[in-house]
Symmetry: C2
Subunit: 349 residues, 2 copies
């Protein structure tokens, strides 16, 4: 059943690259032995590292890239001057069919710009979006867009709903994901024009989509819906606010356990349970934002990720490849008719 999957890895992207990338690939290979890798980057830096991981070396091809897109490069500049960069070459590999998907922990804006130019958006999608998941009381919730589109109209939001639905089916394995639209209240008249208009379109009914209605910020963590749709500005702020609060919590809890002798004793007993809790909320387990709406699979790992986090991002790429994400989203878009019609009837194609 398990066909071979080739993933192109931007070996130079991320704060701790290339070491972190190779170690991440090594971890991913334990979990998914069917993977093959194209390691793209500075050959003189990667080759000696690769030598030390024979199991990875056996499943990898090394492709030299002269340039690196830096973390502070503007997307437009990266597009113009980064044609020989490791980031560009992994996307090219997907476009040319040399790889099934690409993973990079490099500059998000540059990655999105390059992926859009090289892979192009799918028919029926105006703008690609970035999606990821967050831990909730019920499991995990998909959140999109996370910053690719700072300003969105109603049409964009409806398209995000479709992409989020397909993503939840492919990566979380859900059969009937529920969709919510992020707003500042649950009443019909709340929010801005784009949100209200998208709500009306989704409420009218779109084939195959289970629309719950408006959700609020606290619904993200409570897992009220499986997919939370919003514009890139709010989505980015929600994601990072949640990350900040989680970090604060772990620091406060550390301080609480150091605050007295009794608390220290309590820690000794509670340690395994607390470690489990930390694992459950570990942001590295939820690493891997997907660029949705393109004719190809590109996964963005957190720039500050370590090897374990990068392995999670590879895992997301693996799931998207094996679960037919691209076909699924194409089918949904076709059933819907592209562009999205104002009525609830799905137009035959």
């Amino acid at each position: 059943m398990t066909r071979e999957i080739t993933i192109a890895l931007d070996a130079m992207g991320g704060d701790k690259a290339p070491d972190m990338v190779l170690k991440g690939a090594e971890i991913a290979l334990v979990r998914y032995p069917e993977l093959r890798f194209l390691l793209v980057g500075a050959a003189d830096r990667i080759a000696p590292l690769l030598k030390r991981i024979p199991k990875l070396e056996a499943r990898s091809a090394l492709i030299h890239a002269e340039d690196v897109v830096t973390g502070d490069a503007k997307p437009s500049a990266a597009l113009r001057t980064g044609k020989r960069s490791s980031m560009r070459l992994v996307i090219d590999a997907v476009a040319e069919g040399a790889a099934d998907c690409a993973v990079s922990a490099g500059n998000s804006g540059a990655l999105m710009a390059m992926a859009k130019v090289v892979l192009k958006t799918m028919p029926g999608i105006d703008r690609p979006a970035m999606a990821s998941f967050m831990p909730t009381q019920r499991g995990e919730t998909v959140l999109l867009d996370l910053g690719a589109n700072v300003e969105c109209d109603a049409e964009n939001l409806v398209q995000f709903a479709l992409m989020g639905d397909a993503f939840a089916r492919a990566v979380l394995g859900l059969l009937k994901p529920t969709i919510g639209l992020l707003n500042v209240g649950s009443e019909e008249l709340k929010g801005n024009d784009a949100v209200r208009e998208a709500h009306a379109k989704l409420r009218a009914g779109i084939q195959g989509l289970i629309y719950h209605g408006f959700v609020e910020g606290d619904d993200i963590a409570s897992g009220t819906v499986d997919v939370v749709v919003t514009d890139g500005f709010s989505g980015n702020i929600a994601l990072k606010t949640a990350e900040g609060v989680a970090k604060l919590f772990f620091e406060f809890i550390g301080a609480a356990f150091r605050s007295s002798l009794f608390a220290r004793i309590g820690y000794v007993f509670a340690r395994p349970a607390l470690m489990q809790l930390r694992d459950r909320l570990d942001p590295r387990r939820h690493n891997g934002a997907m660029l949705l709406g393109l004719n190809g699979i590109v996964v963005k790992s957190h720039g500050g990720s370590d090897a374990l986090g990068f392995a999670s991002a590879i895992g997301v790429a693996h799931d998207l490849c094996t679960n037919g994400f691209l076909d699924r989203i194409k089918t949904e878009l076709a059933a819907l008719g592209a562009p999205v019609p104002a009525s609830s009837q799905a137009a035959p194609v």
Copy 2:
């Protein structure tokens, strides 16, 4: 030194009113014995409750209000038909000078609409904002706007910065609060037009204001700045996302401590430290959103608040009255010149 302060309380606002309001006032009175209250609401419901709290009765006057603004009332409808409501009468009391400030746990939209019509915005302020604070690694951070203004231009954001500055000085007692503008990245070119333009204005320099620059969602909890400025859509989402994550965390930690016998033993030892942690993050301690930019002080308590939370909201109202918040913000606006000038020079008034 402590002059008498009269606070008008909307005794009918909030899920657990009027009981919660009276108990909250009782708690606040222990902390601030100089307070006096105008209790506004259905006399036949309040009088018997008040009889049971003689200390509160001695410091209160009961004012009958025929109507109640319901939680689902539209602001426009509440404005038209709610002229004899408890919510309206507490705002009227502030406008007429019968009370120094008003506190309500009722419908936010209606409260904002009524306060704006009755008290009017200050000269130099186009739109009032709603502000509150969140716990951080360094103490507390003021966040505004929290939902009063779903769409904001650069001018609004600059005015929010001024109001947030005055609020941080008055309520948190900070001498030199730092201000950050919420965005999806820290680089100059990130964000939408309103955010970039406001950044340029604040960067150019406004007298008395210490502008840090752009901040991101995770900076809220890390306490990078004392005041985080954003539009009402993003602010509401950030606040509620943070609340949701905090709630998730407490549920996860409860589950972790119930997960094994060892963990249960650990809990016994660590309990006092964990209770302290819970207190530190208790949303009830951070209750009380202030309506900023009006000619009068109105504090909004969370609708689902209990007596302890309502007492915190009364505490915020108390601090704003005693620390000369209104005068401070007027002075800042005057020094700045109203409307906000494009240049960095403060116009003499």
